[in-house]
Symmetry: C2
Subunit: 412 residues, 2 copies
């Protein structure tokens, strides 16, 4: 039998999806599994998107332009204008989800064995995209105790080598919920300009910023036209992850022309996803506000509930729909597996994403989990009860003494 | 400004799409451009697919399983069974078009700098997928004068090195229309087993095989379970290229498990494309026969018409909806450009795909063009008139004497 490639072997299993077989087994045994592991919102897709699909008026579902439909690109320009982001439609390439936008950007900007800096914990698939493009991820660790603020810029600078070609940030952040401050972004900007790097900013959670925190896009920073690549997706803001409609946006024409060659190779993004995406941009204020209010209420509840559970630590995320929590357990992955295989509370259990999968360094995040608050408040309440009960009964729970030490550097 | 990657620079422009700006300019100047350059059928999409989209019954357009919806995978099993291809649903990974299936296969089976053998002329994007995965394409040339039959297997063997990891074939072939005989496939099979290679077979034109030619899938060859990867797409057979629904199919479990990790990274294939694709598999016999009869009539007409034009040479393709034709011109790309920029006949002109883009070796295919017969017969008639008139008037037309030499090794 011929050998599989090294990169195939190196490719990680998704930490978000790796517990799926255990969950399937739990369901077979009659448990209700509340899924907090994956960023798949339960919120209805924008009715504008659904209506556009149901009213589809086309005889031939054909390839679109490789850069995407011009009407969608022009519609996005209006959308960005409302968010004080000034781009032209030529700056926008439509991609098959944000995932493809990142892969194409890595292919366009980095050679095999080049390095990209990423503050960790980070969205686990960045590591997969890098592996599949033979790019090396160099992580700069941020800490749950600090609320995951940007590590000192000197930490980035220490890790810059001749191979460093760019930085990826996610703002608002998946998995931490951190929203980058203007000061943080300007520090990154200065570093990018000093070392002539590319800066990819994944801003797919733009709509979900709480507590009157200011959201700043990298497209709003001065002097970044040749360096900045905005990664976007319609998946999260219109609750339509299955559309697979994203975008790669940059004012760097040569970068764009090169990226377009990768787009041409795969012919075009999905037709219906573009039609529905364009319609979704006209989603009503009521819909958008409703989604926002729902996530805000869930965020508030989950922070409150987590802080009620002895030994659990989290800070209040300012954006997105995720929260990282530190649990009083020996190993959060073992705990997450145990919750599926050995535990139930009134017929329920929960599925968590083990934190270690969002870090590159072995050992980091071992007590952390990522929780996606993508189930309704009634279910969230049951989920938090499950978590509290599970932690009481889990054999690998930390002894009281260690918990006290852990909680000593906590500012709830 | 930071530098673009080497692979980005090496990435070719699509030969199929590179004349688009000239075509756009021609249209602006009022010409009617008949597009023979791209495999975008004009035939209506299967009504089953359209109906499934219009009847969409979902509140949340969510991620599907990374391997694709189980119901679609099971439906495909039935479809293949009707074509005497026996696979299980677990053997099938749904991809975002056949394009993604090829890219994921290359990533899974080949390391950077490994080599893949491909009979040329070949679908130009194979070269792009290889470039984007740092794989080297090694071409074995087939010839228009031979009707593009498989070159002697000794030609393949000569090019096998320590880096050779696989072979790609396209059957029925894009761009040549060649349908591989059982003997040819068994020769390839024996070579694959002898050198322990992977064999990718792109069979997206399976439905379009003419003149009672027998179509044989690599999945029907004995002893290939660990070696064979079937690449498929619903795009062409249901005239729905915009769905972006394809498949990677193999009985090699380790290969599949590895490929699934690449699928997990991009989360899922498009939701609507899968729903519509599943419905399309139930397309009526009348629809499928209508599509077949239409392509057959076009194939017959175009072979007839091309052979009426002095100095033009082609053989009769047995499958797909393309034909390669050799033209009595100095350079087919210059001719194709001239047709768009300098020529018109009764307000019309044609857009051709220059043949050289389907070969790797400089100089090969310089007098050839690929014609996709994806416009109706009335339009094809005008297109062939344009071609005849254009060839009469093109300044780079070969002198009579050279044409005679060229046509001497022609068996029309």
């Amino acid at each position: 039998m011929p050998k599989i490639s090294k990169r195939g072997t190196l490719m990680p299993n998704s930490p978000i999806r790796k517990l799926v077989p255990l969950a399937e087994e739990a369901i077979r045994r009659g448990k209700n599994v509340l899924r907090l592991n994956i960023g798949q919102p339960d919120i209805p897709t924008s009715d504008k998107a659904i209506a556009a699909i149901r009213n589809l008026d086309a005889k031939v579902l054909e390839y679109s332009h490789s850069a995407g439909m011009e009407s969608l690109r022009r519609k996005l320009v209006e959308y960005y204008k409302r968010h004080n982001i000034n781009v032209n439609y030529e700056d926008i390439l439509i991609t098959t989800g944000g995932s493809e936008a990142i892969t194409i950007t890595l292919l366009t900007c980095l050679n095999a064995n080049d390095e990209i800096l990423v503050p960790e914990p980070f969205y686990a698939n960045y590591y997969s995209f890098a592996t599949s493009t033979d790019v090396n991820v160099v992580a700069i660790t941020s800490h749950i105790e600090d609320g995951f603020i940007l590590p000192p810029i000197s930490e980035f600078e220490k890790k810059i080598t001749e191979k460093t070609r760019g930085i990826i940030i996610c703002n608002p952040n998946n998995p931490t919920g951190h929203v980058y401050s203007r000061k943080e972004l300007e520090q990154i900007r200065d570093l990018v300009l000093k070392y002539d790097l590319f800066l990819l900013s994944d801003e797919v959670y733009r709509e979900f910023v709480y507590d009157d925190e200011e959201f700043i896009s990298i497209m709003q920073l001065e002097g970044m036209d040749q360096h900045a690549i905005l990664i976007d997706s319609l998946s999260k803001r219109y609750s339509a992850t299955g559309l697979r409609t994203g975008a790669l946006i940059t004012k760097n024409k040569y970068l764009r022309d090169t990226a377009l060659k990768f787009c041409q190779a795969r012919l075009s993004p999905p037709y219906v996803g573009q039609i529905a995406g364009e319609a979704a941009i006209d989603s009503s204020k009521e819909y958008m506000n409703g989604v926002f209010d729902e996530y805000l209420a869930r965020r508030n509840y989950i922070v409150y509930a987590l802080n009620q559970i002895p030994g659990v630590f989290c800070t209040k995320p300012k954006g997105a729909f995720y929260i990282m929590a530190k649990l009083p357990v020996d190993d959060a992955e073992k705990f997450a597996m145990w919750m599926l295989s050995d535990f139930e509370y009134k017929g329920n259990t929960i599925m968590l994403a083990p934190g270690a999968g969002f870090y590159t360094e072995g050992g980091l995040g071992k007590q952390e989990v990522r929780i996606a608050y993508v189930i309704n408040q009634d279910k969230l309440k049951i989920a938090m009860e499950c978590l509290a009960e599970g932690l009481k009964n889990y054999p690998g729970r930390l002894p009281e003494k260690e918990m006290v030490i852990m909680n000593n550097h906590v500012e709830k």
